[in-house]
């Protein structure tokens, strides 16, 4: 029996007390203002305990990570995509790959239910579901030479489940791109400052691409520094443009921005990678890591006070203006990234497993990175909850509800049960130098207001407008990169699928096929973007739940693959590790899909909504928030498309889960029938620590090994 040292016991007791204190204050205080410090304490305390105990238990008892087994990076080392990478570097790579706009947008929208539901789901979800999924997928993919999730689904579940998984991944990519683009449009519409500085990122990226291709190949750090400097210049220049006679040129209506964005997505995705995508990616990664670090610092230094209620009335009534539906299941759909995100399974399989040095490092890379992303989601929630609730609802309710003047908005907010005066609304917009903040849905502008509040507390009040636009640019930057990269990935999937029908499509560089598939992918997400912008009921309000459902659907696929693999690899008694998150995820996603399809509340159920508006058309009446008969027809078309989509997604989940269950049952009954495509054991020659800080024994081993890793 191993006994813990007294010092260890004392330290972990203290960590537990910090976490418990945070949770107690968050849960028990009502009607008084709570400091964000308690949220940070609850999060960090819980993460530390989960990482130390639960993740360690999964790694050693369930997965039985084997430090003597060579990883694909070691066995297949080709110096390019397969190469053993230092764990600290890989942590950075993996984190930069998984964390994007998702953890910043979802929590902001979910804040309409109050800060408590979001906090609980982000922290509990990451510990028991999200981080577990990332780590287990990473482990199994590492054991399979870095196979992708789709390949694993096909090999381990079967062609049927595999095809459903592939189709789901494609649908999700399209909806994701449409929704992300909508976030950008809502942030940049009628904002000359933002539009100018985002527009400038294109020539900056082209310049960087030229530099890297022709002038100094491979000098990424110096070109990134040049790029960031130019970017900050563009940001400052945005203000000058907004105050000059050029302002009109950069003040664009949402529908104009849609055309620009789709055109950009199409052109960017057919240009060579080196021209726009690669340099943009360097730029956005630099900005992402820098801003997240700044934000963490800002939250800890400023320790702002949460002004939102712990739980708002919308949680129970389900009639919130940001998204309709009650707390269960919609909070768990709205916050995907940061708690449980299916998308991560695409990174944890494929890219990262080809670089991991040791199996023992899956805990730090898989579980650890996801905890870091979760803390980003907590910061986004803090940023949304420190702004005045009245302002929050005025910014996040659909335009049809808040109207176009500060007076009508103030009135609408009063109907929600919050107060903000027209003068305060006008002042808030003036402070960040925007013409209006009314109905700036999508989360990015709200986050930017919160961020500017936090940062201006640290830097003095004068820089508020600068920080607002800094935050907008930071989000827009990596959403634009995602549009380009996502279009390429979607195109790749489409080429692969069409290649089965017409051979030449398989050749990914066949120009006519490339242009046709790129145009089709852009057309598809462009459709959702167009619909979102012209939706009388509010694009985010209608589309975000579908995005959440699709992301959680991908998580269901990943968790089903993990559970099947646990069962098939003789770990049946531990199948609950991913089985329970799978059941939870499936319950949430299917309940949400069911309500979206069948609910009798027209705010929630798409088909009910369709019939209400269709009846209106038949009776010749225009129902608010629609303003004309055209609007009425738009609502009918959109709710039909959205309803069908929700139903199709739900069917796909059921197909994958049933197919996975079939394979598991068959394995339990007749194990001889199942095959496990694991790469054979090869002894590892690399010596490397498992965690961030090497233990004494690992240090000794490293010293004894000849040819230690570079840099150590």
């Amino acid at each position: 029996m191993r006994t813990a040292k007294p010092r260890t016991i004392v330290i972990w007791t203290l960590v537990a007390l910090v976490g418990a204190a945070g949770w107690s204050v968050l849960a028990l205080s009502r009607g008084e203002n709570v400091s964000a410090a308690w949220m940070v304490a609850a999060a960090l305390g819980s993460y530390a305990i989960a990482y130390r105990f639960y993740a360690k238990f999964i790694a050693h008892k369930v997965l039985k990570v084997d430090g003597t087994r060579a990883t694909p990076a070691e066995r297949l080392n080709n110096g390019i995509d397969f190469h053993p990478t230092d764990r600290r570097v890989l942590l950075g790579h993996h984190f930069a790959a998984i964390a994007g706009a998702g953890p910043l947008v979802g929590p902001v929208l979910a804040a309409q239910m109050g800060y408590l539901p979001g906090t609980i789901w982000i922290i509990a979800g990451v510990i028991f579901a999200g981080a577990v999924q990332d780590m287990v997928v990473l482990f199994f993919s590492t054991r399979r030479d870095g196979r992708s999730l789709g390949q694993m689904a096909r090999e381990e579940i079967g062609p049927f489940g595999g095809a459903a998984a592939l189709l789901a991944a494609f649908a999700i990519m399209i909806i994701l791109l449409g929704v992300l683009a909508l976030v950008i449009v809502n942030a940049l519409a009628a904002s000359p400052w933002g539009t100018f500085s985002i527009g400038m990122t294109i020539p900056i990226a082209l310049l960087m691409g030229f530099y890297l291709r022709v002038l100094r190949p491979g000098r990424v750090t110096e070109v990134s520094l040049i790029g960031v400097a130019l970017l900050l210049l563009a940001l400052v220049a945005g203000r000058w443009v907004a105050e000059s006679s050029w302002a009109g040129t950069f003040t664009l209506a949402p529908s104009t921005l849609v055309i620009w964005l789709v055109a950009y997505g199409f052109i960017a995705s057919i240009l060579p990678v080196w021209m726009l995508l690669a340099p943009r990616d360097y730029l956005s990664t630099f900005m992402k890591i820098g801003t997240i670090a700044l934000l963490a610092l800002g939250v800890v230094i400023a320790l702002p006070t949460l002004k939102m209620d712990a739980v708002t009335d919308f949680a129970e009534r389900g009639d919130g203006p940001v998204f309709a539906g009650s707390l269960f299941p919609f909070v768990f759909i709205t916050i995907a990234c940061g708690a449980l995100s299916g998308f991560h399974a695409l990174i944890s399989s494929g890219t990262t497993p080809k670089m991991i040095q040791k199996e023992t490092q899956v805990r730090m890379i898989g579980y650890g990175s996801m905890l870091m992303e979760s803390s980003v989601a907590i910061m986004a929630l803090v940023a949304a909850c420190i702004i005045d609730p009245g302002l929050y609802f005025a910014m996040n309710a659909p335009a049809g509800v808040v109207g176009t003047t500060v007076e009508s908005a103030s009135h609408a907010v009063a109907n929600f049960g919050y107060t903000i005066s027209p003068a305060d609304l006008a002042k808030a917009a003036h402070q960040v130098e925007e013409q209006s903040l009314l109905s700036r849905t999508g989360g990015a502008p709200t986050l930017a207001v919160g961020v500017s509040e936090i940062f201006s507390k640290v830097t003095g009040g004068s820089l508020r407008a600068f920080w607002y636009h800094f935050a907008i640019m930071f989000e827009a930057l990596f959403i634009l990169t995602a549009l380009d990269a996502g279009t390429r990935v979607g195109r790749f999937m489409l080429q692969d699928m069409l290649g089965n029908v017409y051979r030449p499509f398989k050749n990914v560089s066949w120009k006519p096929g490339l242009i046709a598939t790129s145009a089709l992918v852009c057309g598809l997400w462009g459709y959702f973007l167009w619909v979102g912008v012209h939706e009388p009921l509010g694009g985010i309000n209608q589309l975000f739940p579908i995005f959440g459902i699709s992301n959680q659907l991908l998580a269901a696929v990943a968790l089903a693959v993990c559970t099947t693999l646990l069962v098939k690899s003789g770990r049946l008694k531990w199948a609950w590790i991913t089985g329970i998150p799978l059941i939870w995820d499936a319950t949430v996603t299917l309940t949400a899909s069911y309500q979206k399809v069948f609910s009798g509340d027209p705010r929630v159920g798409f088909f009910k909504q369709r019939s209400v508006y269709q009846d209106g058309i038949d009776a010749g009446k225009v129902l608010p928030p629609a303003k004309s008969m055209d609007d009425m027809h738009t609502v009918v078309t959109n709710s039909t498309v959205d309803g069908v989509l929700s139903a199709v997604l739900a069917v796909l989940i059921v197909v994958v889960i049933v197919d996975a269950a079939r394979v598991c049952v068959r394995h339990v009954r007749r194990p001889a029938l199942s095959t496990l495509s694991e790469a054979p054991y090869v002894e590892s020659k690399i010596v490397a620590p498992a965690g961030l800080i090497p233990t004494q024994r690992e240090r000794r081993e490293e010293r004894d090994a000849i040819g230690a890793a570079p840099g150590s």
Binding site: N77, N78, G79, I80, D81, H83, T85, D86, R88, V89, G92, H93, A96, A97, I98, A99, G100, A101, G102, S148, L176, L180, L212, R213, P217, G218, R219, V220, T221, S224, P272, V273, W274, L277, A278, D281, Y282, C337, S341, F343, H344, L346, I347, G350, T351, F478, T481, A482, A485, G486, R488, V489, R491, F492, V508, S509, N551, P710, G711
Partner: protein, 66 residues
Amino acid sequence: MRSALHRAASGIRWYIRELTDESAYDRYVAHIRQDHPDAPVPSRRDFERARTDRQEEDPRQGFRCC
């Protein structure tokens, strides 16, 4: 003191070069020299071109999340 500062600076430089993959070429050359001593070593320019062209072929390499 001086050596500690020096160590920290070179540690940071190493980390940034690794994180941005600026060190990819050096790593590849080391790999070729060690495992395939007879194979020709490409120039940095050619290597970097081949690297972005690979991403062109399979865009899932280096894809980032939402």
